[in-house]
Amino acid sequence: MGAIERFANPNRFLGLARPCLPWLAAGGLLSLASGLYLALFSSPPDYQQGESVRIMYVHVPAAWMALFCYVAMAAAAGVALVFKHPLADLAARATAPVGAAFTLLALATGSLWGQPMWGTWWVWDARLTSVLVLFFLYLGYLALANAFDDPARGNRAAGILALIGVVNVPIIKFSVEWWNTLHQPASVARLDGPTIHPDMLWPLLLMALAYKLYYLYVLIVRIEGEIAAGKLRALQRRRARTADRTQVNAEARA
């Protein structure tokens, strides 16, 4: 509880988070550049998929991030509901568009890969369908969070929705194991160790690191923006109130 209360102060949070930004940016760019170089030039083509396998280095980390962002968003929403933590609300709200973008990226790159490999842009297979549902959950969260005149009310309602939607996360994760469908099962995060060659694993992990650092960078920038927007709203309210009061005083004097 101590730490949770300590960083509830927006200024203390910003004092800690702002110096991290250049490091996150540098680390993100470095891992993205080296990951892309390894993925596009120095990694071998797949014996079955040929050069198309390179789409995987964009697709797989994006799909990981789509799930990771949802879990992070729901966790932040849960902390906000239980501890009334003011920054957790902002973190959940700031995570949603990033997660939606990664989900869309995963769907789009998967579709581009599916055309040459499976011979179709889209199949109604369990994994694809459940990721599409995830995308709609993100859209619902964003729509609900922005549907109220009071942003705090929107955040809280959307937080409950995010927690309801968590049931979809295990369905997506295990869909390729529960239903035997077109989408291939996991090959990296397995109990018996990854089944892919290190030459392909390294660019994949570097890309995943780049995505994660990008997410953290955007998260901090967006939270900063939300805090600034909140301050602006408070100032506008205060000014409207003092304007009211001076007008009332002037009328009383007249």
């Binding site: 549902v133 959950l137 729509a143 109220f148 409950i160 927690l163 369905i171």
Partner: protein
């Protein structure tokens, strides 16, 4: 329990006094189903093949039509705040509302479905399974929809928003509901699908009123 019964009786009395609301749901269900033969053509083989899907999708849409009203009236005239002030809290309120919604939409839909299945030419063996699956899953829709309806209270354009929120959550029910009817028509085991639908219902019955109550508390602040 007596509190729950009073809440339920109040809900049902409100619905009864509004008159034709539950008939409207059936009328919408019928119109939505009648659109399909125009959309995909009147070929009996094709209609019989997709009958279960048509009935399920129409039932989902019809159930959703009346969701928004679950809490809106009480929210607008302030009775929701009085209900929240009762010592029992909002959990029984949410449960009673969901049950009343099911009694006035899900139950009529379940009873009416075989008639429409008949005119679409659904396999006769699947009729009982269709009713059983609908009876098991329409309460889940009422419970999930209740949570959605409570979340959009006071939102701009709440009705459209509600559809966007609850449709993704309805998809598992749709998958296993259609699965059960298809299995029955194809002569496969129906039990697994029905037990999963029952499991979804039990989960929703435990979790949804709780989420609905939390959403109502947020709306009352």
């Amino acid at each position: 329990m007596s509190r729950f019964r009073i809440l339920l009786r109040r809900e049902l009395a409100l619905v009864m006094r509004h008159g034709f609301d539950s008939l409207m749901v059936i009328a919408f269900f019928a119109v939505a189903i009648v659109l399909f033969p125009f959309g995909v053509g009147p070929d009996p083989n094709m209609l019989a093949r997709i009958a279960s899907g048509i009935i399920w999708v129409a039932a989902l849409l019809a159930a959703m039509l009346s969701l928004e009203r679950q809490f809106l009236g009480d929210f607008e005239d302030g009775s929701l705040e009085l209900l929240a002030a009762s010592p029992a809290g909002l959990f029984p309120v949410a449960a009673a509302k969901a049950l009343a919604h099911w009694l006035t939409t899900g139950l009529p839909l379940t009873v009416a479905a075989p008639l429409f299945a008949l005119i679409l030419g659904l396999d006769g063996d699947a009729m009982g399974t269709l009713m059983l699956a609908l009876a098991l899953s329409t309460p889940t829709l009422s419970l999930l929809g209740g949570a959605g309806a409570a979340l959009v209270l006071g939102a701009r354009r709440g009705g459209v928003l509600l559809a966007l929120l609850v449709m993704p959550l309805f998809i598992p029910v749709l998958i296993f509901g259609v699965g059960a009817v298809e299995a029955a028509a194809g002569g496969y085991a129906v039990r697994p699908h029905l037990t999963i639908l029952g499991g979804l219902l039990l989960m929703a019955a435990v979790l949804c009123p709780w989420a609905t109550a939390a959403a109502l508390r947020v709306a009352n602040e």
